[in-house]
């Protein structure tokens, strides 16, 4: 008889049995109904309003870029260099998944004026138009998952072991011959499954939105969504395993809840704020005023200490020697155009230096914050999430660099055209009045367009952070399994 029960052909899967029971029990719990309903409602609201914001912006951006391009062409006949002053606008493309995570988009500006002589900062920051009510930033799907998903999991799981221990069912359960590890996996599966139910609206709306998106415009969308899902899945599992581990090791459910909510508050509120402050201390970034003043000063005195005027004089003397002429007015190109272009080019070095170092500072700050993710998994998740959503600094930098390249192209083409077309006007006073260009000339500047970084570039930047997130997952799993091998059956 004994042998018969020992050699059962296929014993039922304990993990599955425990998981189903935990799932059913969780769903019947009043706590679950309320928290899940609130979570689902918030997610739906955030995603729907994010989508509406995204769609409105994408439509506006396409239309405005078209209008601005037409205005460039139809600006009226004028001197080509004046046309470069008239300028054009570069509108930023919304991140393809920014309806889910708007990242730094509200703070960085989505409109950049491209004009001769100046590299401008992007303006039109949505945050400027927000009321004081939205001081915590826009509510978007990502924020809700980052902040509330762990709390939901904690609420569903803190009593998983501690509650059973307090009620005495843990003894009954362990007398049945269930292995401790199987019990841990079963509870993880059942409670994790219940938590998934609350997040389903997110998946549903997300899928509907993705179906509506123009995938041909963003061929890497599938990969971005896939990695995002993995990252948020890992984040949820980290909190699930931590919750179950703490519930198993700590005596009473109340204590488990206090410890877990404490870690949650530290992780999602204190850590990001502290990490940001630390990163600013380690990698100080200049204020806007300092930044602009420094750049202006370097434009005059030269990065290498040779004043721009001296550099230009040397350049002209070399050019005159090359063409063997005694006066710059005898050069075989329109000198004012040459001068303006050359001075632009001296500035490029200065602009590149300052803008790149500013960007590098911000990047270094962010990388440090990601590394501080060893203390709080939300840090690398936040970064990778906005990277994958296309609303991070990487995407913004690609946009501003594209706009700057376009500006340089525009100025160079206008000055270049002028320098050839007006070669006979050298030395003529008020010569700029005699040289006009029309739409056909303006059309040698192509319309502004750029491609955002693809998912490979995003992964290259955030791979380390994602790695850290998965290291957290392994550590949390290890902790949960350790806790499973150690938990006590009775409150003592």
């Amino acid at each position: 008889m004994a042998e018969a029960s020992l050699t059962r052909p296929s014993p039922p899967s304990m993990i599955g049995i425990v998981a189903r029971k935990e799932f059913t029990e969780t769903l019947r719990d009043g706590r679950f109904k309320w928290t899940a309903a609130i979570m689902a409602l918030l997610l739906l609201t955030a995603l729907a309003s994010g989508w509406q914001r995204y769609a409105a912006y994408a439509e506006m951006q396409a239309a405005a870029q078209g209008t601005s391009n037409t205005q460039w062409l139809k600006q009226g006949d004028k001197n080509p260099h004046s046309a470069a002053h008239y300028g054009n606008y570069a509108f930023k493309q919304a991140g393809s998944l920014s309806f889910f995570d708007s990242g730094i988009e509200p703070y960085t500006g989505n409109l950049l004026f491209m004009e001769a002589h100046k590299q401008n900062l992007a303006i039109s920051r949505p945050a400027n138009d927000m009321s004081a009510v939205t001081r915590f930033g826009e509510i978007n799907g990502a924020t809700i998952l980052q902040i509330l998903m762990p709390l939901l999991i904690i609420f569903l799981g803190f009593a998983a072991f501690a509650g059973e221990r307090e009620r005495g069912t843990l003894r009954q359960l362990m007398s049945m011959g269930v292995s401790r590890q199987e019990l841990m996996w079963g509870k993880a599966l059942g409670i994790g499954g219940a938590a998934m139910l609350a997040i389903v609206p997110c998946l549903a709306v997300g899928t509907a939105v993705l179906a509506a998106l123009d995938v041909s415009a963003a061929p890497d969308l599938g990969a971005r969504v896939g990695v995002l899902a993995l990252a948020y899945g890992a984040y949820g599992l980290i909190f699930l395993f931590l919750t179950l581990g703490v519930s198993a090791l700590l005596g009473a459910p109340r204590n488990a809840l206090i410890v877990l909510v404490g870690f949650w508050a530290f992780s999602v509120f204190l850590a990001p704020k502290t990490a940001a402050e630390i990163s600013k201390l380690v990698h100080p970034s200049p204020s806007l005023g300092e930044f602009q003043a420094e750049m202006k000063a370097d434009q005059v005195r030269g990065l290498d200490g040779v004043p721009t005027a001296a550099k230009f004089g040397k350049y002209v003397r070399e050019l005159m020697a090359q063409y063997n002429v005694e006066s710059p007015m005898k050069l075989p190109m329109y000198f004012p155009a040459l001068r303006m272009q050359k001075l632009e080019e001296f500035d490029h070095v200065v602009f590149d230096h300052h803008y790149n170092s500013l960007r590098d500072t911000y990047m270094a700050q962010r990388r440090l914050q990601d590394a501080l993710g060893v203390f709080a998994p939300v840090l690398p998740l936040t970064s990778a999430s906005m990277g994958l959503a296309g609303s991070d600094l990487l995407h913004h930098d690609t946009y501003t660099q594209a706009a700057e390249s376009h500006r340089r192209l525009m100025v160079e083409r206008m000055n270049g055209y002028l320098s050839k077309a007006a070669v006979d006007l050298n030395g003529v006073s008020n010569s700029s009045n005699y040289m006009t260009a029309d739409e056909e000339v303006f059309a040698i500047v192509p319309p502004f367009a750029y491609a955002p970084p693809d998912v490979r570039a995003v992964l290259a930047e955030y791979g380390g952070g994602l790695g850290l997130l998965f290291a957290w997952l392994l550590a949390a799993l290890g902790f949960a399994l350790f806790a499973a091998s150690r938990f006590r059956l009775d409150v003592r």
């Binding site: 029971k21 069912t169 003894r171 011959g177 269930v178």
Partner: protein, 233 residues
């Protein structure tokens, strides 16, 4: 079926159990008597491998419980002072869950309901959540779980304390059924009357030591009480 050989448990300097030798065969109902702290619950916890022995061995069906903690539990059913169940699940769902955990997923719903009927749970309680159950009803579900598990040995830790006499009597009848089915039963109790009525053997414990063993058919109620009190002084 249940055997203890030189079984001991120390908590620091305190001897909770001192060299217990015990052998309980199929069809035995062995009642452990003794004051609180005599080592009755410690014995049961050792058989369940809920605590590690300081010395000696406890075996179930010939298997050492410390070496085969999961296999030996398949033969065991445990019924504590109050059977603890999941309040959010019905009596039926609790039984179904524990039956599956016990390795028996072959039962149909009708089979499971039969177990509940067999232990005398009212039909209308099957699908009520256990949070509304009385203690007596919980104990019945506990026995149903043991039946469904086809346990070869039962470990009962004061299962009738706090039950009214009728419920207590019903519980004893259930034990006798299980005994006829061939189960070996170890029951810790304070109820001398029930021990004499239901048990086949009685062991009297004091301060971690088994002082005396009796066969219930050789002694009267009065004898049991007299011998018990002798050992308490």
């Amino acid at each position: 079926m249940l055997e203890a050989t030189g079984l001991s448990k120390k908590y620091g300097d305190l001897d909770a159990l001192k060299g217990l030798n015990l052998s309980i065969k199929s069809g035995d109902i062995y009642c452990l008597l003794g004051a609180n702290g005599a080592g009755k619950s410690t014995t049961i916890n050792l058989f369940l491998n809920f605590i590690d022995p300081s010395g000696g061995t406890a075996t179930v069906n010939g298997l050492d419980v410390t070496k085969h903690p999961l296999e030996t539990k398949k033969f065991l059913a445990y019924i504590p002072e109050t059977v603890m169940l999941y309040g959010n699940l019905t009596g039926f769902e609790n039984l179904a869950y524990f039956a599956k955990l016990g390795g028996h997923d072959e039962y149909t719903d009708a089979d499971l309901k039969n177990f509940l009927k067999q232990v005398g749970l009212q039909d209308d309680a099957f699908d009520k959540r256990v949070s509304a159950y009385s203690k007596g009803m919980r104990q019945k579900v506990g026995v149903a779980i043991a039946l469904a598990k086809q346990a070869k040995a039962l470990l009962l830790d004061e299962p009738t304390s706090g039950l009214d006499p009728k419920a207590s009597n019903e519980f004893s009848e259930l034990l006798k059924q299980l005994q006829k089915g061939g189960a070996a039963i170890l029951m810790a109790t304070h109820d001398l009357f029930r021990a004499k009525e239901t048990g086949t053997r009685i062991g009297i414990m004091r301060e971690g030591k088994l002082m005396r063993e009796l066969s219930t058919d050789e002694v009267s109620h009065a004898d049991v009480e007299r011998i018990y009190l002798e050992h308490m002084h």
